[in-house]
Amino acid sequence: MKKLVPVWAKWPRPDPWLLAALVLLMAMGLVVLYSASGGNTDVVARQGVRLGVGLLGLLVISQVPPHILRIWTPWLFAIGIALLLATWFFGTGRATSRWLDLGVFRFQPSEVMKLAVPMMMAWYLHPRRLPPDFGVVLVCLVILAVPAVLIARQPDLGTALLVAISGVFALFLSGLRWRVIFGFAGAAVAAAPALWMVMKDYQRQRVLTFLDPESDPLGSGWNIIQSKIAVGSGGVFGKGWLNGTQSRLEFIPERHTDFILAVLSEEFGLVGVLALFAVYLFIVGRCLYIATMANSTYARLLAGSLGLTFFVYVLVNAGMVSGLLPVVGVPLPLISYGGTSIVTLLAGFGILMSMHAHRNFLR
């Protein structure tokens, strides 16, 4: 650290480009949300407040230097595991024990793991020789497998896979050899039937419905069919803001949460979808850029995997809405209505901002 410069003169500035892209995304989200909620300003205001608070949190976290984050990492991971175990015993929530009620507020410990797992991977790989050798990879797999298994048995297979994949990204970025990568990929394909065996009935049903939604158009196929109708009927230019019949007449299920992209597609058409994807692509690219500019292995791996995980959310959500992937409860990042994912996402971006802000601070 250069000692003679005043703190205010060179405070750790977050990346303006990324920030601008995020704010743009949020603004688009609020516009679509207004329509999706049927012109409900309360919903929009509540989401706006959440985003504002999230942005503040982002700025706060961006001021924490990466090496401090790194020191906290094992503790955060340990707390996350503890909370996951706690849901095992004290979980609330209707069908699944995902939620933990702390009296003041309820939250999902699995959300903590979305950050804690990549942080832990980066923490573990940080001092090690890269690319990691066999023993290191094995330990990494344990680090991501333990929380993934705990989340999967809540049961929340979707989140479990997303948590696991954030760890996999860290491994990938660490330079895991391609033949190992392909080996694992092959093993994963081979293990698919085994996965089918451990799936719960409703999960299997979702996959079957995904493969043939028309088999039960009024039941489990309804979501996919109505969503596709909304997207397709939007055409190139869309039906116009507030004019989407599929959303206004409530044919799209979960239209202000998981299926908000269907509303956007219907009202703004292919043009709107491309614009949204462009913003997302810019954000992911910026994240990877920040990662490459970072000055420590920890920062690089963490920033990179956070950015890629963010994109996976987009990919999974858009795939679901367009009928490419089965219905899994993944919100569209920063667009879908809901507090939990905003907190996690913006905290993640806070960490990225911290990497960026402190990129020149040698340690």
């Binding site: 690319p131 109708i229 909304a230 397709g232 055409g235 044919f251 491309l274 990179g304």
Partner: protein, 628 residues
Amino acid sequence: MNLRLPKKKPQRRFLKDHFQEAQQFRLRALAAFLLVAAALLVLVARFLYLQVVEHDELATRSVNNRVHVMPVAPNRGLVYDRRGRLVAENRPAYRLQIVPEKVDDLEATIEAIGQIMELPEDALERFQESRRRYRDFDSVPLKFNLEESEVARFAVDRHRFDGVEVVSYLSRHYPHGELLTHVLGYVGRLDMDDLDRLEKAGEGGNYRGTTHIGKVGIERFYEARLHGSSGLEKVETNVQGRRLKVLERSDPVHGTDLVLSLDVAVQRAAWDALGDRPGAVVAIDPNDGSVIAMVSKPAYDPNLFVHGISAADYQAILNAPGRPLFNRCLLGGYEPGSTIKPYLGLAGLEMGVIDEQHEVFSTGFFRLPNVSRPYRDWKRGGHGKVNIYGALEQSVNTYFYQLALDLGIDRMHDYLALFGFGSRTGLDLRGESPGLLPSREWKRGRFGTPWYPGETVIAGIGQGFNVVTPLQLASAAATLANGGVRREPRLLYASKRPGDPHAVREEAPVVLQLPVDDPANWDIVREGMRLVVHGARGTARAIAPESGLQIAGKSGTAQVAAQELDEDMDEDTAQHLRHHALFVAFAPADEPTIAVATVVEHGGGGSVEAAPVSRAVIEAWLAQGARP
């Protein structure tokens, strides 16, 4: 990219090559970005496919989602009697209907509904049955004509029943109940047979919003006119099927109002006069062929059938004595007995076989040459010398035995056929029986045996193979009364299409203008019939009104069991073995405005049992004053 490092060294102590790691990370980040871009390309391709290639189809499905074409059922035409009394009306009522697609567990839902209102035991099956004729997301009726308390109870529990709704509609009601059942018939819920029939007639679309259809009677015969044509409404609905706005509407054309020629007051008089006895009364205005009264007893309450009759009620009607479902006016086949005599007398006069002065000596017996069996008069010792007037007045069998022989069966058949015996009258109701008017050809075809002279003899007094319906008797009496104009009897008197200011008269078509050789012959027969009521020895002189009203009539007795005619019917004879009492009449005798045929089953003698009923009907008709 592998670093060549001493492999035996412990892992904790090694050199990290930061530059090399950063270099490798950049490569991996680039690879990752390329993967991201590739994945995004797949997504873009997918959205391109949906929003450009599939756009037309998905846009159509989006429209189909929200825009529903709903039929708007026309209001069924009302039915009045000839004096404007409402006899079939539409009452506001409520029905419960379900959109099956919106109900998760239909069985449980119907069971739950059954706890707040009464449902038939087979409600579910019936519902599934009627469901087949509706499209997806259409409301399917479960129960009609809810009680107000049922509507209220449902309103309270409404939140428990997604996809179930109570809607108002117009329900058919017959204020006169069983009095007019055999004429009006009733409407009932559309069933698969009705649908097949409608589809074949190309009327399926017109009935999409309709729940009820005429099943029998006038309701069935004039179904097309009463129903009207369905309108359409294009409505925008949300996912719950709630109608948000009407985009387009074409109004239905409501059904035509019908004015029947029936006079409820006369109908009531006939009904009351019959009392508890099974029987039939048909009254026709000889001047225009319009049917003034048509009673078949016993009857049943048509309102029971409108909302789907319960099995218990239906069993009760089926098992009731006297077969209430049987319409005696159209289907009851009776021996005409002596009521045939005026027509045979007229045949004899017109063909010159007899004249006014021609006399026959009645000894009480009539014998054919070489046949030992005697044909009897109803009066022991006979009636003495009678001409045509006396023969009709006293119903002298011997006169008509001889006349029949003189005419021969061929001429008898041909002349009676002119009056419509042996063929359907053409009344505007379905299912009429043609009766039976025997002939040589018929007998050969039916039995393969020749016609025997003895059969001609008994045909002279309306016995043997002859079968007539009360409707035929009334129609023939009307033709005789008006001097030979045979019309199709008509129940429809006038009709008023929606929007028309006045009802338009419906004329009964003339079937035949009977040949009239000499009008005086007709007067002779009519005078003979007048004497039946007003003559000193008239068989029905007991009913002659004190008012001076002149009634012309003829009694008849239809045999039930094969009995010798001279065997007096006594009180001990079992009810079901007693003969049917018949009476045909018209009045006023000089200028008839009503012709009546009455049958009282197992009533015994026609003049005693049936004639007073005819008189009551005639008086009720004339008491109403001039025809409207």
